[in-house]
């Protein structure tokens, strides 16, 4: 069996232990295991206008995770812990640059299952939401976070998260009903 094959059978905790010992292949396995999901979430949180920042944010997320990995207690899933860091890293990027608009969708992977056109329309509509609304709706409706979790992640009140989600969904409905391409 190859080294990669052996590593792929190890748990996240075992890989982290090896990484802390300086084992590069263990880190590579950890990265390849968790980055696809992290990258998709960050891409969606950033929106099309900040797509150029995607790989920077993913890299910043991993570096922040590695710097603080000794604080990872192992009581939560590593993927959730990493996602939390990814959300904060992305959110801090919003603070650096104001809302920008764009209409780039070339990196969104093709969806499977549901009607292609409707999913792409939803992806487009999400990307056109203001940053604070897009983050809340992505975390709640795509990633499955509760309002309390979102409130903790973003440092806002739970009620604010609910109200923001309500406004975001209304905007989504409006865009999808009116035709996304005609909005903005």
């Amino acid at each position: 069996m190859t080294r990669r094959g052996l590593l792929s059978e190890l748990t996240d905790a075992a890989l982290i232990g090896r990484f802390l010992g300086g084992d590069e292949p263990a880190f590579r396995e950890l990265y390849l295991r968790h980055t696809p999901r992290l990258r998709m979430m960050v891409m969606r949180l950033l929106g099309a206008a900040r797509r150029a920042d995607l790989d920077d944010v993913v890299q910043e997320t991993w570096l922040a995770a590695c710097r603080g990995v000794h604080r990872y207690a192992g009581d939560a899933k590593f993927s959730s812990w990493l996602t939390t860091i990814g959300i904060r890293t992305t959110y801090s990027r919003f603070a650096r640059t104001p809302d920008v608009e764009s209409d780039l969708f070339d990196e969104i992977p093709a969806p499977v299952g549901a009607g292609l056109a409707s999913v792409i329309d939803l992806e487009r509509a999400l990307s056109m939401l203001p940053d604070h609304q897009r983050v809340v709706v992505v975390l709640h409706d795509v990633e499955g976070y509760t309002h309390d979790e979102i409130a903790r992640q973003l440092g806002i009140a739970s009620g604010t998260a609910k109200a923001t989600l309500s406004r975001a969904r209304s905007a989504l409905r409006r865009m999808l009903n009116d035709g996304v391409s005609h909005v903005g």
Partner: protein
């Protein structure tokens, strides 16, 4: 506008659309290398174990020493008198040089023997003379000296037969 959406059913279809969104985006290989480079710069991933590096350096030095020794011994033995005598690919000029070397070596060996033993051993000169005599006879058998050897042999025989006289400097000339 997409014809998949009608105003009345957007609310009902949103959850299904959300669940149909792709969840993964494969990273670019370069991105992983960038992260690895950054982590190494921060000292997270070991570059090379100093212990193994030290062991490798010692092994390399030992290998170089062994190779140097082998090469040196081979070069030295290749030009030794014994090695040259066994070679069959020498030119005539080389063979003349070889004879000169062998003769010089013989003279040095005989002088050394005489200096070391003659003052305490009265048979030293006789031994040296007999060795030289044997060499001269061997040369004579090869017919290489054009008649010089018989004269030299006679002279050496007479010298060997005479008792040692007053102390004198014992130098054997070749």
């Amino acid at each position: 506008m997409s014809d998949e959406f009608e105003p009345h059913d957007v609310d009902a279809r949103l959850p299904r659309l959300f669940s149909a969104l792709p969840r993964e985006s494969p990273p670019e290989p370069r991105a992983l290398d960038d992260v690895i480079t950054a982590l190494k710069a921060e000292g997270f991933l070991r570059r090379r174990s100093p212990r193994f590096l030290w062991a490798r350096q010692v092994a390399a030095a030992a290998a170089l020493l062994a190779l140097g020794g082998i090469a040196g011994a081979r070069i030295a033995s290749r030009n030794s008198l014994e090695s040259m005598l066994t070679r069959t690919d020498l030119s005539l000029a080389d063979r003349i040089l070889l004879m000169q070397r062998a003769g010089s070596a013989y003279v040095r060996a005989a002088n050394s023997y005489a200096n070391a033993a003659s003052r305490t051993d009265s048979t030293a000169i006789e031994v040296a003379s007999r060795v030289l005599l044997g060499a001269a006879q061997a040369v004579a058998r090869s017919k290489l000296d054009g008649g010089l050897t018989p004269s030299l042999t006679a002279a050496l025989r007479s010298t060997a037969a005479e008792p040692p006289s007053a102390p004198r400097r014992r130098v054997i000339w070749f």
